[in-house]
């Protein structure tokens, strides 16, 4: 997701998509997603899929398409299963529908900044604020999750490499303890970084 968040900004299509308010894009995505469930015609779905491909190309999202290769592979497998076990037309409708949605969702996430997404969430959460629940930490937490999720993966990998560098045996579950400890260390550091830039400052 994060690698996707940077469609090349100098394309005209990308500029147009970026200019559309995030709320509108997300609402549109939800509506189209729901609407596609009711379309059963393979030709119509094929048309929608082609449109989504053109859109992805227009926002200059070639790296985006590469990131979609694993799900595309899954869809291909699902189609083969339908082909072998039953009705290939049902399979075609299914993969066109999901493929179009994946493309569209990727285009939206590639052309919308994380802060814009969070602003939409902030508006959606507004009713909670009316009953006295603080919603600012929710936005910060989402941001931190997006930032640290890839770092946790990298940390696990680094621990695995450190293990393999000194042991012929497989590490497996033995990495869990150092992983948890180093993650808690990271959390401490993130708290410091938050404090250093005034995230815990009170409004006075």
């Amino acid at each position: 997701m994060i690698a996707l968040a940077s469609a090349s900004a100098n394309r005209r299509g990308a500029r147009i998509m970026r200019a559309i308010p995030a709320g509108l894009k997300l609402a549109g995505l939800a509506l189209i997603g729901a609407g596609l469930l009711f379309v059963e015609n393979a030709f119509a779905l094929g048309g929608v899929f082609a449109l989504c491909l053109v859109l992805a190309w227009a926002v200059g999202a070639a790296p985006l398409l590469r990131a979609l290769l694993p799900p595309a592979f899954m869809l291909a497998l699902a189609f083969v299963a339908h082909l072998v076990l039953g009705d290939w037309q049902v399979g075609l409708v299914m993969i066109l529908r999901i493929g179009a949605l994946l493309l569209l969702a990727s285009v939206v996430s590639a052309s919308t900044g994380v802060s814009e997404m969070l602003a939409v969430m902030d508006r959606v959460l507004a009713p909670l604020r009316w009953v006295g629940v603080a919603t600012r930490p929710v936005g910060v937490a989402c941001m931190l999750t997006l930032r640290f999720a890839p770092m946790l993966g990298a940390r696990w990998q680094a621990l695995g490499e450190a293990w393999r560098a000194r042991s012929p045996r497989r590490a497996q579950w033995r990495l869990v303890t150092p992983f948890v400890i180093s993650t808690l260390d990271d959390a401490d550091r993130a708290a410091d970084a938050l404090a250093a830039r005034g995230a815990f400052a009170r409004d006075d």
Binding site: I2, A3, A5, S6, A9, G113, V114, S115, A119, M143, L144, L146, R147, P150, M151, D186, R189, A190, D192, A193, L194, A195, A196, R197, G198, A199, F200, A201, R202, D203, D204
Partner: protein, 240 residues
């Protein structure tokens, strides 16, 4: 910029796990560029964290521009900027624009104004196109610059840099030094690399939580290096 004393420590002591990390420090820091040197574990980073207010001393008092830096007020938070040793420990947001806008937004600036300020800052550095880049796509030197900009946008009076040149190649290091030279802020640089601090106005040498030496770099620097050589010698003899 106010030329009067901005950082003042009065009898500051900090203990960690039963041992004293800082020992009754009393200091007035007024010079524009101050280097803090010392060996590993001498208390350099602890001193920096106390001045930033990330750590509250067990005894004594810290004042930065007349404020208690550990008070959780916006004014106190904005008084000191802190550059962490490891950029990855400082970056909180997935992309550059958001990372730099984080501080201003926390300080109550609205999102559009913060975005405009970030755009201005990045353009002034000639890197306007970084704004939407994911931080993971930046090099170590670029990340260091993003961290620095994320701190500078808050316009702190004092800037504390914890080993800012670590892990940077020579051109990046020189570029960063030139960039720092032009900043109007009072800057405290922590380092064990005394050569990178020869242009400082004052060097503080910490040893076991106390000020061991204090003066201009041409005086303190050679003494420090000599002491480090001696320490290495003694260890070599002990091992032989």
């Amino acid at each position: 910029m106010n030329q009067s004393v901005t950082v003042r420590l009065d009898g500051v002591s900090v203990s960690r796990g039963g041992s004293r990390v800082l020992h009754d420090l009393t200091l007035s820091l007024a010079e524009r560029r101050i280097g803090i040197i010392g060996r590993n574990g001498s208390g350099k980073t602890t001193l920096a964290r106390v001045i930033k207010g990330l750590l509250t001393p067990d005894h004594g008092q810290v004042r930065v521009a007349g404020l208690d830096p550990s008070a959780r007020t916006r004014e106190a938070a904005a008084a000191v900027g802190f550059l962490f040793q490891n950029s990855d420990h400082q970056i909180l947001c997935p992309n550059v624009g958001e990372e730099i806008a984080f501080g201003p937004i926390q300080a109550g600036m609205d999102k559009d104004a913060a975005h405009a300020a970030v755009t201005r800052l990045l353009s002034a550095q000639g890197v306007a196109d970084w704004i939407d880049r994911p931080v993971v796509a930046l090099s170590e030197g670029q990340r260091r610059l993003v961290c620095l900009l994320a701190v500078l946008i808050l316009e702190p009076r004092v800037l504390i840099l914890d080993e800012p040149f670590n892990g940077l190649d020579i051109p990046t290091r020189r570029g960063l030094m030139a960039f720092l030279e032009d900043l109007p802020q009072q800057i405290l640089i922590i380092s064990h690399d005394v050569e990178s601090l020869h242009d400082a106005d004052r060097l503080l040498w910490l040893e076991a939580g106390k000020i061991h030496d204090d003066g201009p770099p041409p005086l303190v620097g050679p003494r420090f290096l000599k002491a480090m050589d001696r320490a290495a010698d003694i260890r070599a003899e002990g091992a032989a």
